[in-house]
Amino acid sequence: MFATVNWRHLLLWAVFAAGMLLLPELVKKGTLRTIIMAQYLAIFAMSWDFLSGRTGYISFGHPFLIGIGAYTTAILSYRFGVPVELSIPIAVATTVVGSVLFFLPALRIRGSYFALVTLAFMELMYQLTQVIRPDLTGGTRGISGIETLTRGAVNGFYLSFVLMFVTAFVLWLLSRSRLGTALSAISMNEDAVAGSGLNTTKLKLFAFCVSAAVAGMGGAFWVHYLGSIAPRALFDINFLFTIIVAALIGGASTIIGPMAGAFFLTFLLEYLRPFLPGAERYLIYGGIALLIYMYQPKGLFEIVSRLWRRA
């Protein structure tokens, strides 16, 4: 696993971490809060990308995964007083187990149908959280007053940074391994991967579990940062859209791409807020995303690295 990792890579990671950890000294509290949102979005985008960007199985159900993690820990800690040290790991495990149960059959489905099933799951979850046991889920209103883990923007930043950094580093290691190569091969030609003697179902299931674990973890910590949860904000096409667009704008099938995309989108949102306070801003988001995507489906990462090579 470490054969393709050399000290230069590790140095770059260290420089990245050091640079990010200096941020609280350099920027205002408000900006720091924006960065926190960007970091959670980056986690979700990396999670989506590890499944969909790499294997080519487009998931429209990531909010569903994030929602399982978020709701599990929210319900456990708020309704049953389970300490967060316990409720968050349970939430991650539940996301993985729950999503495997739901999606295992879906992994037999190829192409566009996979996307459709995951979309159906998200809508299903949205409707179910409102009607099944609203005493637990809080129904349409959701739950608020959930325990928060950190006080103040600086601590919140450190926590979300550590989460994002660890996620990025682990996913990067995975993608550098032979397994990462095999996952990318699936998106190019799944039959030929099977024809090379590899069990593609196992590979996809692995990618799926990793993706779900990251989504569940991100969702669980996120809800303990926000302190509240509501179905419409979570199981929402706009949220799904933001995750996917973050991954795509930056560059699918890379690690830096989804992170860069998440920061780009979140800051764009922040700057647009005074002019376009409501849902209209998705017009700008979407317009930019569509242009970039039509011009270069591999995103900014590819555009920049092509310019670099030419220069």
């Binding site: 489905i109 566009s112 979407g286 569509l290 039509m294």
Partner: protein
């Protein structure tokens, strides 16, 4: 009982109308147009603006909405689908983005709040204890007329046969002198027009709001997956299954659960038959 029967048939007619434009693209263009719901939104709002804001005659509003849908369908094909050369993943993603862009554009133009459409055809009558608005009755009748018309068109006209040929085998059709590109363009235009028309009725049946494209999209998806790609009979049949399931769950179980069964239907069918009930191997 009569209530359920009548309501079921009327709603199913509307759903068939919603689904038929979507299945057309799926079958001829072979791509998943996630922005299909956007036609409904655009159709609904165009009608609202023309006939309720500008005060044009209703029929003019409907016709212009249909024309707009067709134009948007063609542009979508020209600007997005064709350049992506039938890459499924790319089309799925870009049409999803487009759907969100359209939704945001509507918010910008008309605001976030939902609007009430006056019925396109006003009047109510009571049949065996059931209230039947002429509005939804018209939608159901129009839907039947369109489905039958489409069926006859595909079966008995030269153009229709050419369309069908493209849906079966693009290369073969090209060899026998049918221009797949032209056929695709025609399909996108028809699909857009049907979507816009369905949007006018759907909006007048429920409400007009910027996010009103998701539910119809899921209904259309369910109909296509369960009923088979490009099968007009399958479309009709499954639209009725879904329509009746909704009416039954609304009146007998719980109104909030009406959409749940549609989703479950999609999931269960795909899991039992990964290729869809009448599906082709891959999309």
């Amino acid at each position: 009982m009569t209530q359920i029967l009548i309501q079921g048939f009327l709603l199913s007619g509307l759903y068939a109308l919603i689904a038929v434009g979507f299945t057309l693209i799926f079958s001829v263009g072979r791509v998943l147009n996630l922005a299909y719901g956007a036609y409904l939104v655009i159709g609904g709002y165009a009608y609202f603006w023309l006939s309720q804001t500008l005060g044009m005659p209703k029929i003019v509003g409907v016709l212009l909405a249909i024309v707009l849908g067709a134009v948007i369908g063609i542009s979508k094909y020209r600007l997005i689908v064709k350049p992506l050369k039938g890459d499924h993943v790319a089309v799925e993603i870009s049409t999803l983005i487009l759907a969100v862009v359209v939704q945001a554009g509507i918010v910008l133009l008309f605001g976030d709040a939902s609007k009430i459409l006056h019925p396109i055809v006003s009047g109510v009558s009571r049949v065996g204890g059931a209230t039947v608005t002429y509005n939804i009755l018209t939608a159901a009748v129009v839907s039947w007329v369109i489905l039958i018309g489409l069926y006859l068109f595909v079966r008995f006209t030269h153009l229709g046969r050419a369309l069908e040929a493209v849906s079966m085998d693009v290369k073969g059709a090209a060899i026998s002198g049918v221009d797949p590109d032209q056929m695709n363009q025609l399909t996108w235009a028809i699909s857009g027009a049907l979507g816009a028309l369905a949007g006018v009725f759907f909006a007048s049946y429920t409400q007009l709001y910027p996010g009103m494209w998701v539910t119809p999209l899921i209904i259309a998806v369910a109909v296509v997956i369960v009923g088979g790609i490009g099968s007009i009979l399958g479309t009709l049949l499954v639209a009725h299954i879904i329509g009746f399931m909704e009416v039954i769950s609304t009146s007998l179980i719980a109104a909030e659960l009406r959409g749940v069964f549609t989703m479950l239907l999609i999931i269960v069918v795909l899991i039992i038959r990964p290729k869809g009930l009448f599906g082709r191997a891959e999309l």
